[in-house]
């Protein structure tokens, strides 16, 4: 891990320099040219604001709250979306029955569910989780379905002649592993969408806590340096989640694909 880190620094010299340069330009423009904390807080303002929310502990509360909302949404989307996608991809009848419903619900922008989220769940974590769920469920269903549709027939037949004949076994031992790259890609897309929905839900009053809520709250107070801190936080956490997921999937689950030309 450590060696890896050093290697990363050596390899990513240009990237690091570029980042430092961007921050310097930002600081210069904000501090010397704009000179208006409302219009453009400087890098230094943002660092100060950051240290404030670290000291008073708000950052931890809000991050945890947002992560909780996100987890509720992702868990619900998994529990419902993956089995639905599997059923639709494997059983023609299930596809015919579910496809029309999904095709009608899918184009509804997830944020349009916010009023119902509040009516159904009140101002609870579940309400925010529901909006995340609404954003995540369809990419997960669609990609699971697609992965299942594209399981090469020869794998299914090879399994059959090796004595794997029940649907449940074929799904478990052949279709799921074969569809895993597609399912994982769906989850990644879904996480991106879900992250956006999370912020919007928190901003639009589905919650009175969370990173999204803080953006809106600080905007009302015209504390744009804090707004910017929360924006950057959202970006970083989103990036971390995505990287962690990709690392986990590529290293642990899709090792068999490494090096294959897809």
């Amino acid at each position: 891990m450590k060696i890896n880190f050093i290697k990363t620094i050596e390899e990513k010299g240009v990237e690091a320099l570029s980042l430092i340069f961007a921050v310097a330009v930002w600081q210069l423009v904000a501090d010397r040219i704009v000179q208006n904390k409302l219009l453009l807080p400087s890098f230094y303002d943002v660092v100060i604001a950051f240290s404030v929310i670290v000291k008073n502990g708000l950052i931890f509360m809000d991050t945890l709250t947002s992560l909780l909302h996100f987890s509720i949404g992702i868990a619900a989307a998994f529990i419902l979306g993956i089995p639905l996608g599997i059923a639709m991809g494997w059983f023609k009848a299930a596809n015919r029955a579910l496809d029309p419903i999904i095709e009608i619900l899918r184009p509804i922008p997830p944020l349009a569910w916010i009023p119902f989220a509040i009516i159904w769940f009140g101002l609870t974590h579940q309400a925010a989780g529901f909006v995340v769920f609404a954003g995540m469920i369809f990419p997960i269903i669609i990609n699971t379905y697609t992965g299942f549709k594209n399981v090469p027939r020869v794998y299914v037949e090879a399994a059959k002649v090796l004595g794997c004949n029940r649907n449940i076994d074929l799904i478990r031992f052949v279709a799921i592993p074969s569809a895993m790259p597609s399912i994982a890609a769906g989850i990644r897309i879904a996480m991106g969408v879900g992250w956006m929905c999370l912020v919007a839900a928190e901003m639009f009053g589905v919650s009175s806590m969370g990173l999204g809520y803080q953006i809106w709250h600080n905007y009302y107070l015209h504390r744009m340096d804090f707004v910017l801190v929360y924006m950057l936080l959202l970006g970083f956490i989103g990036l971390l989640i995505d990287r962690f997921f990709r690392y986990y999937v590529d290293e642990k689950m899709l090792k068999w694909k490494s090096g294959t030309v897809v």
């Binding site: 794998y155 037949e157 002649v161 090796l162 004595g163 592993p177 074969s178 895993m180 068999w256």
Partner: protein
Amino acid sequence: MGQVSVKKVSRIFGKKEEGHGTEALLNISFDVQDGEFICLLGPSGCGKTTLLRITAGLETLTSGEITLNGVPITGPDPKRGMVFQQYSLFPWRTVIDNITFGLEMQGIKKSEARKQVEKYLDLVGLGQFKNSYPHELSGGMQQRAAIARALANEPEVLLMDEPFGALDAQTRNVLQDELLKIWEQKHVTFIFVTHSVDEAVFLSDRIVVMTSRPGRVKEIVKVDLPRPRSRTSPEVNSLRDHVLKLLEEERFSR
């Protein structure tokens, strides 16, 4: 025991009521003895794959029946192993875990299954590559692993659909030699599809030469030559000439 009887098998694809389906197989009959090495040879599109898939239980037939030891075949069964023309190893499993797949399906624990399949790994010479993923293997090694995977289930019949079709001539010859060694060691009936006359003459006890579509039996050629066979002896050459002539007739009769 692996005695296969093909009895008046026909297969028509598509809408036969309306009379414009594809007749793939027409009234095919022949018997395969227990432990025999049979090659199905015929022009491309004559229904070799279809016949093999019916025997595997992966395809249905329109009329007639195929029996294994007198019992009609109705679906896939581990008693009838199959090696496919395309690469069919599960890419998400390592070589050894591909080979244990059949045993795992029988409910044998993975660790136990791994012990049991070591001998098949050695048989096909893939001991060193047991923990590799299929994409790390050459085409020839993949087909070797596929053969080991089929053998690990201890089938009575091994069905092979042009398993070496995608390989270069050199690898192909090596694998033919190895396949014969395996066949001599294991008491298994081999039904081997090929469109290569050389391959059929080199490998089989008997060659079922098929007509062009709809596939029928044109002639069953007995290859009464001791093994190991030369690839170029006068006997082999005259046999090859004979079979080639049969195939050529099919080309012109179309």
